[in-house]
């Protein structure tokens, strides 16, 4: 039976034939690994995801966590699934063997994560948040903080959160008001309210380690005065046993359209004496610490969006292959049997649109994950530097593009199932609801667009932007050597030229002080560059597919032909949209700015 979560053949193609991750095993850190160990851990992820995560996905949606004023109740299947996840070692999969981890490349842990996200994104969120918090402590915590808070997280005994937003400050962190009063013993007492904190309260773990952004009175205004604190739900005694409850209280759960199984909380810090907190790193360096993890968090959101799209794609594909409905155009004979949905052109279009989005999005997220590895472990320092630079400009795209276009893919999945797709008896409507969160959290897509055009394109004298162009042009040159791909090489080259001209106009305007005008249509710049990046990803996949096709037989041949045809779909149906975006951007259009407010 084919997987309902990811097409394993596609995943293997992307990991080994496109990204060539076997080469990672030549690096000292991964020397014990090989394709066999990668595949074994992916097998385990798939098995646990299918057996323990997927079965309660709809049940958890129907029975979201509740708060009785004392505790939060979550259906027991969540805890059971997480026990299997922890016991299999996934919580520490990327960490050192010495710390009890598997020392796996990040790209492999992300390939594993993909199965859990496809199976049940709400249950998967708890360990993913914990992993992000543990990584942050790994990078910035003191040895004692690591031992006391990170190690139990890697063991799966403690879970973690990232507590940034406040009711009055969602996208605008410089306006947070939570304050941390220094105490004589070097600790802090925190007072304030945090909003949208995922995993902020539950009984799934012995303890919850909140990583909280707050301001130390007297520090600089704005983001330069933000510090990072460990605030545990239960204080931890010196011997590591659990102490009394800290002054952190659940003020309420948010009730969401989707993603319902992950508790999302409003937390009050310091209703009484102040919540005891421990400074991580230096004072006023909190945002820098938090953003250290932001690339990975944002790639994680992108991958989640991809996988919800992927699960919907596979479900609607199977439905289209089996459900009879209607006849071919021109066949007016009602005595002939109905044909299957997949034989209709418009259904095939919606399947191709989904395949292009989810397999293209997966390619971008896996490439980004591979860059995280290269940044950390490439032997050549210049390669590490290049990976870090490229990652900076790809991150906002890896977050925003899938969260827009793989959500659209979920809409296509519903449409293929027709009325059935709109009912809660089929999983596709839940994927669509769950996925709608992704354009919002970890920085809205509008914020990503401003980050991309306002910061990443110009950073280091445009280094990231030029490196990306270089990589795209290298793919164009490689593709141009194959007559089968010449059309796409030309298409991407033309889109690249439009990008260069558009970027020149926009950055010149900003340099002349017209910042607001330059950024006014940033969202469409993200659309433009996003589509170009996904076209690049597809062209790389097409090159690999052509290579694979040479010796392929039977279903292998169909697999590669399917890849080539999907590349064609993206280049013919999607890439041409870049022309309209480039034209609009290149004219520094001020339509939005000039709208009179009273004219809305």
């Amino acid at each position: 039976m084919p997987s309902t979560l990811i097409n394993r053949r596609d995943l293997a193609f992307q990991l080994y034939e496109v990204l060539g991750i076997e080469a990672l095993t030549r690096r000292p850190r991964y020397a014990e690994h090989g394709r066999d160990t990668f595949e074994a851990v992916i097998d385990t992820a798939e098995a646990i995801a299918e057996r323990h995560f997927a079965p309660h996905n709809a049940e958890l949606d129907r029975n979201e966590p509740t708060f009785d004023g004392e505790r939060v109740h979550i259906i027991p299947e969540v805890g059971e699934a997480l026990r299997h996840y922890i016991e299999a070692g996934f919580m520490a999969a990327g960490h050192d063997e010495a710390a009890g981890g598997m020392q796996l490349p990040y790209v492999v842990t992300q390939a594993c994560a993909a199965f859990f996200q496809a199976a049940n994104i709400s249950t998967a969120a708890y360990p993913f948040l914990t992993g992000a918090a543990a990584n942050l402590l790994d990078a910035f915590g003191s040895p004692q903080q690591k031992e006391r808070y990170m190690t139990p997280m890697l063991e799966g005994r403690y879970f973690g959160t990232m507590a940034l937003s406040e009711p009055q400050a969602g996208s605008s962190l410089s306006d947070i008001r939570t304050r941390a009063e220094p105490q004589d013993d070097g600790t802090y007492r925190l007072f304030g309210n945090k909003m949208w904190i995922s995993g902020g309260e539950h009984d799934l773990s012995e303890n919850i380690v909140h990583l909280v952004l707050a301001k130390i009175p007297g520090g600089p205004a704005g983001v330069k005065g933000i510090s990072l604190f460990i605030v545990p739900k239960y204080l931890v005694n010196d011997d590591g046993t659990r102490g009394p409850r800290n002054d952190v209280r659940l003020a309420g759960l948010n009730h969401k359209m989707g993603y319902r199984g992950t508790t999302n909380t409003l937390l009050n810090f310091g209703e009484e004496d102040g919540a005891l907190g421990y400074l991580v790193g230096e004072p006023h360096q909190g945002l820098r610490c938090m953003f250290h993890m932001m690339n990975e968090a944002r790639i994680g959101v992108g991958l989640g969006a991809v996988m919800l799209g992927y699960a919907g794609y596979l479900y609607s594909l199977e439905y289209a292959r089996t459900r009879p409905q209607g006849r071919h155009p021109g066949d007016k004979d009602p005595s002939t049997p109905q044909v299957r949905l997949i034989e209709h052109a418009d259904i095939r279009r919606m399947l191709l649109a989904q395949k292009a989005a989810v397999e293209g999005g997966l390619g971008l997220c896996l490439l980004s994950a591979r860059l995280v590895d290269d940044k950390a472990t490439a032997e050549d320092p210049a390669e590490r530097e290049a990976a870090a630079t490229l990652l900076e400009i790809l991150t906002p795209i890896a977050k925003a593009w899938p969260s827009q276009y793989c959500l659209e893919a979920n809409g296509h999945a519903i449409q293929i199932l027709g009325g059935y797709g709109y009912t809660r008896d089929y999983p596709v409507e839940q994927y669509y609801r769950d996925n709608r969160l992704n354009p919002i959290h970890e920085g809205t897509n509008g914020i990503q667009a401003i980050d991309l055009l306002g910061r990443k394109v110009t950073m280091q004298g445009g280094a990231a932007y030029h490196l990306l162009l270089e990589r795209i042009n290298a793919t164009v040159d490689a593709a141009a050597e194959h007559t089968e791909l010449a059309e796409y090489a030309e298409g991407l080259a033309a889109a690249g030229r439009r990008l260069v001209e558009t970027t020149r106009v926009l950055t010149s305007a900003a340099a002349e002080g017209k910042v607001a005008l330059s950024l006014a249509n940033a969202t469409h710049y993200l659309d433009l560059l996003g589509h170009i990046v996904i076209a690049w990803i597809w062209l790389d996949q097409a090159i690999a597919a052509l290579r694979g096709l040479e010796a392929a037989q039977g279903t292998e041949r169909d697999f590669y032909l399917g890849k080539l045809r999907t590349c064609r779909y993206f280049f013919r149906f999607e890439l041409p949209r870049t022309a309209a975006w480039a034209t609009l951007l290149g004219k520094l259009d001020d339509t939005t700015l000039g709208m009179p407010e009273a004219g809305f």
Copy 2:
């Protein structure tokens, strides 16, 4: 306080300044009416919608109808709202005064309908379905059928349904299996299962009149053998009193993502002796009868999509006007107060996108409604004929365009509210879920696309298509006389030329027998023509706005400037998409057809 349902200024602009509906009062049927009576009935609709429909919209979503095996339970607010609706005379608003109606033009009844849809689309669906059923009986029922079934519907005592689909035949009506066995007394006994029947069971009315498509054994195969029957839930005695229960049973309720308050049912006909049914019109003419009502039903779906979008637009607009968040680009001073959301360019873009979609969509739906009036009551038979012809080609667009783009508008509304928009504490997520039904029912948007390109464009030798082009060109010519609108006149003219060339290629291919190839990208033809039609609607609004602007002062001036700026938004941000669609279509692209099935 401004209306939360529709901007009344916009509605008045569209009805009187663009469509000039006061001219309808010169026709004998509407001679008793004037702008004052139109406005009075619209006031009543607004008041009832706000007081009795809107307040239970969220409550009904949270507490959807349930079936205990015996009866369906619906929260009592639904019945109360409908009593107010019926008592105010809306059930018969368009019908003859002699029949107890208000003899209002269709365009005015649709303007009223818009308020109920914006306030609570689920509750509004019950009377709208009843109205459609009553109209069908008005057109095709015998005098006795009208008296027995239609009159109680106009009085609001009986409700109605349209029972077309079956579990195995959704989009493909030729494959329905419900059979109607003729009896010696001229009645029929029906046996079969009907799926997706909205309003199929409830206790809101004394009786439910199901209008059922079924096949009389021995008739032609396919759609030519479909007949239409009245099948009441309770038989009606000769004196009009309610008789015994008919052999129609609720097999189950469908549980939907949204639109939850309208019961959607699987009905079994003839579990015992057969459900007693009465033939409407001639045998085997059922589909023709049903399609007589289809234009209006589809415009109604389009209007519902518009109004869900409109309600979300107004809500997110008010939110953006009051919520502070962040600062302008370039303002790095955190000590300045936060600016309101509406001051950010990207928020303005999302507001303009919504305004363009919902006010453009409303324009198209109201124009279509006006054409329904012209078809029925224009004094010149040629004008009646022209209205009927134009309506044929506009209907698939009026159904599909809003159900795609006003759903996208709902996505923008969520995005403007950020995390709050994703919670069930705010109404925008419900609008988004409710609206997701509209691309599916009354013929999926894929079906609309095939209807448009495969039938409407070529019908009567292309008469509808050429008439539409003529009307569009007339607007282009009128706009070209205003320098302020010259850019748009040129833009629409250019898009029109692309449309003509594309259509020529596609219809030629079909004429040469390449039907599948011609229709392969029909959805993008609908996108292409849809965007051109909405641009035409906006250009007509811009002409009227320029006219209004001449003498306008203060807020009136802002209103007209807002219209002009939104027109500009549509022409600069949306209309350019037509180029890519036209190019793809003009090449008869076969990407979808050539995808190997095993390659998915």
